[in-house]
């Protein structure tokens, strides 16, 4: 005990400086740790943002592609419907032409009436 006291009394300045250095280093370490934590928080925030933004862009692209596909399907359906209608009309027209050709032979008076009614022309005998 006596020797320890002697040691301390001899080297008290060194011990004081060492203690001071230790305390200051400890607080500097804490400060540095705070900065590193702040940096980590920023990095984590940026990474989360980047990830979410990428996902959002991906989702947007997929949804738009899906909408476009849906549009194309509906348009194709419409076009088919229209083509079918046109074909039906063309068939009906052919039949109607045949009707008029037959009418010319069988009932010319009726044909005259039809022409008068449709075009407003005057029949001249």
């Amino acid at each position: 005990m006596q020797s320890l006291m002697n040691f301390i009394s001899t080297y008290w300045k060194e011990i004081a400086i060492a203690s001071l250095l230790f305390v200051v280093s400890f607080f500097w370490w804490q400060d540095h740790k705070g900065l590193v934590n702040a940096y980590d928080a920023s990095v984590e925030s940026y990474e989360t943002r980047l990830k979410e933004l990428k996902e959002s862009h991906q989702r947007e692209t997929e949804r738009k592609a899906e909408a476009l596909e849906e549009y194309k399907a509906k348009l194709e359906e419409l076009e088919i419907e229209y083509i079918v209608y046109q074909q039906a009309v063309a068939e009906a027209r052919v039949e109607r032409v045949q009707d008029f050709v037959a009418l010319r032979q069988e009932n010319p008076d009726q044909l005259i009436l039809e022409i008068e009614e449709k075009f407003g022309f005057e029949y001249t005998d």
Partner: protein
């Protein structure tokens, strides 16, 4: 002069009576002519098939135009729907991105505030001064006890 005009008018009247086709100004005339037959007026002749086609065209043109109009309308509606849908998607995703930005920023700010709160307690000059004082105190105290 007056007599001359009257004579001309009389001639025209007589002519119009004798050739009614010339004087007549109707909306248009037609007649049915057998093969090899003649027509009393200048005409453009269609055969039965052509006439039938014209009549049919007249009948169907409205329907066809309506159908085409309907088709064009539906196509335009589809186009507009696609544009609106795309805009809606963009709006949705922009809102999501905005929310993500806000959330992550809030979280980051909260973390930074916590760190600042912890570091706020640190006063470096105070720490240095205290450490020096404590060091000197310990040193002097020890020296004092050792001297005794």
């Amino acid at each position: 002069m007056v007599l001359n005009t009257l004579i001309k008018a009389t001639i025209l009247f007589v002519l119009s009576l004798t050739t009614p086709e010339l004087a007549h100004s109707s909306e248009g005339r037609f007649t049915l002519v057998p093969q090899g037959g003649t027509v009393r007026f200048e005409a453009t002749c269609f055969d039965t098939e052509a006439t039938a086609r014209l009549l049919t065209w007249k009948e169907f043109i409205t329907q066809e135009a309506k159908a085409q109009c309907e088709f064009e309308k539906k196509t335009l509606v589809l186009d507009s729907e696609l544009v609106i849908k795309n805009m809606q998607i963009t709006l949705d995703e922009t809102q999501v991105r905005y929310q993500v930005e806000m959330d992550t920023r809030d979280k980051e700010l909260e973390t930074l505030r916590d760190i600042i709160k912890k570091n706020k307690k640190l006063n470096v000059p105070f720490v240095v001064a205290t450490s020096v004082a404590v060091g000197f105190g310990v040193g002097f105290g020890t020296y004092h006890f050792a001297s005794k």
